[in-house]
């Protein structure tokens, strides 16, 4: 490499990093498969995103009440949406012993159906399962969060009998939705363990299941921090692994 070429290296490296190279050829036969998702966008959580036309604010910044993705991207009917929620609620009851519709939890648990703000830049940056375009594949995240708001926490049952969902901890279920050129892939997720706040970040471990990709786990973290311009910057990292066949 000549000195002249070397002088361009500092400029090329960030260009390559930010280009988000397409991820063909990563798969290994017989090995587990992965989807890596990031969100690093900046947005104003007090202004609804235009890309989510029916967005209504929830108690969580960056998360909106909306049926746009279910109805328009997935093409689900209202009955299918409700059936999916019923399935999620049944999971919470069986796994964690939480009947979120029980009035006894009023004021102790907060349940919120949400769509992640697309301005977070939530996108797949690498996958062994489908092609990812340069710059990433813009994706959706639907989540029903059940957050303990009782300062004393909420006693759990099911597989977690004897444990307590501490104030601020959450259990959740939902789906990642990946609109690829080959079709829309949906990966359902459910809390394998309660999500916790650690060093200001939400940290989760979920089990995942997909008709197309099988079962696996998702692990990640998310945090929002304010910017000097009066907005917030998302920092979301999520690594989804599907078990080897």
């Amino acid at each position: 490499m000549t000195p002249r070429h070397a002088s361009f290296l500092p400029l090329l490296l960030p260009a390559l990093l930010f280009a988000g190279c397409a991820s063909d050829g990563l798969a290994s036969a017989g090995a587990s498969q992965v989807i890596d998702i990031v969100g690093d966008g900046t947005f104003n959580p007090n202004v609804a995103p235009e890309a989510l036309p029916d967005a209504v604010a929830t108690a969580i910044p960056g998360r909106w009440a909306s049926t746009f993705v279910a109805e328009t991207v997935l093409g689900w009917t209202a009955a299918e949406i409700e059936a999916d929620k019923d399935e999620g609620r049944a999971f919470l009851s069986e796994r964690y012993g939480l009947d979120v519709e029980d009035p006894a939890y009023e004021g102790r648990l907060t349940t919120v159906d949400t769509t992640l703000d697309p301005r977070t830049g939530f996108r797949v940056v690498q996958s062994t399962l489908f092609d990812v375009p340069d710059g990433g594949l813009a994706s959706w995240n639907l989540a029903t969060l059940v957050v303990a708001t009782d300062p004393a926490g909420v006693a759990l049952g099911g597989d977690f009998e004897g444990e307590v969902l501490a104030a601020g901890q959450a259990v959740l279920f939902g789906a990642y939705v990946f609109p690829t050129d080959d079709g829309v892939y949906r990966v359902a997720y459910r809390s394998l363990l309660p999500a916790v706040i650690q060093d200001g970040a939400l940290v989760w471990t979920c089990e995942v299941e997909s008709e197309d990709f099988g079962a696996g786990v998702a692990q990640g973290l998310a945090i929002l921090t304010p910017t000097a311009e009066g907005e917030v910057a998302a920092d979301i990292r999520n690594h989804v692994t599907f078990w080897a066949p």
Partner: protein, 178 residues
């Protein structure tokens, strides 16, 4: 050469600062309303009602399940302009250099700039003629309990009238909800 590199890196990484919401707010020059604009800052109570915050009742921080922490803030404007008018809202939390309100702008912990318009969920005219604005998320990068802090709200209405109020939060005085 060094300067060119910095410029190119800036372009590649998208470092250009975003246009400010404040700059985009338009005042109606035909508005003749001149009475002072009253402003009170608060938070939504559990039942949704407006709850004033002040030095004796400091704001409650929320550790949000989005990751991070925030204050949920509401405002009430007395003698607001026409119901069809927009309002510029700027909220800011800051760490104070000393235990006095005047020394609270040195270290910004979080800031919101937003224009609220009729039809927005945050624009709520009340029966008594006041205007409730909110709730707004004021996302915090920090909220050091052991140090003095402040929460400041300032508004400008379509008539060009402005008002501001500031709450000083004493060390260890706030109550947290998780």
């Amino acid at each position: 050469m060094q300067r060119k590199r910095i410029l190119m890196l800036g372009v590649l990484t998208g470092c250009a600062s975003a246009p400010s919401v404040v700059d985009g707010f338009v005042v109606d020059p035909t508005c003749g309303r001149a009475a002072p604009l009253g402003l009170t800052i608060g938070q939504p109570a559990a039942d949704g009602s407006f709850q004033v915050i002040d030095e004796d009742a400091p704001p409650q921080r929320v550790f949000g399940p989005q990751g991070g922490q925030h204050l949920l803030l509401d405002l009430v404007l007395a003698d607001p302009s026409d119901e069809a008018s927009a309002t510029l809202v700027v909220l800011q939390a800051a760490r104070c250099a000393q235990e006095e309100p005047a020394a609270c702008e040195t270290d910004v912990l979080g800031r919101v700039e937003v224009i609220t318009r009729p039809g927005d969920a945050q624009h709520q005219p009340l029966a008594d003629g006041t205007l409730r604005l909110g709730s707004y998320f004021l996302v915090l990068r920090d909220w050091p309990e052991e140090e003095p802090r402040s929460v400041t709200a300032s508004v400008q209405d379509a008539c060009g009238r402005s008002a501001a109020t500031s709450i000083w939060v004493a060390p260890q005085a706030q109550q947290d909800t998780r």
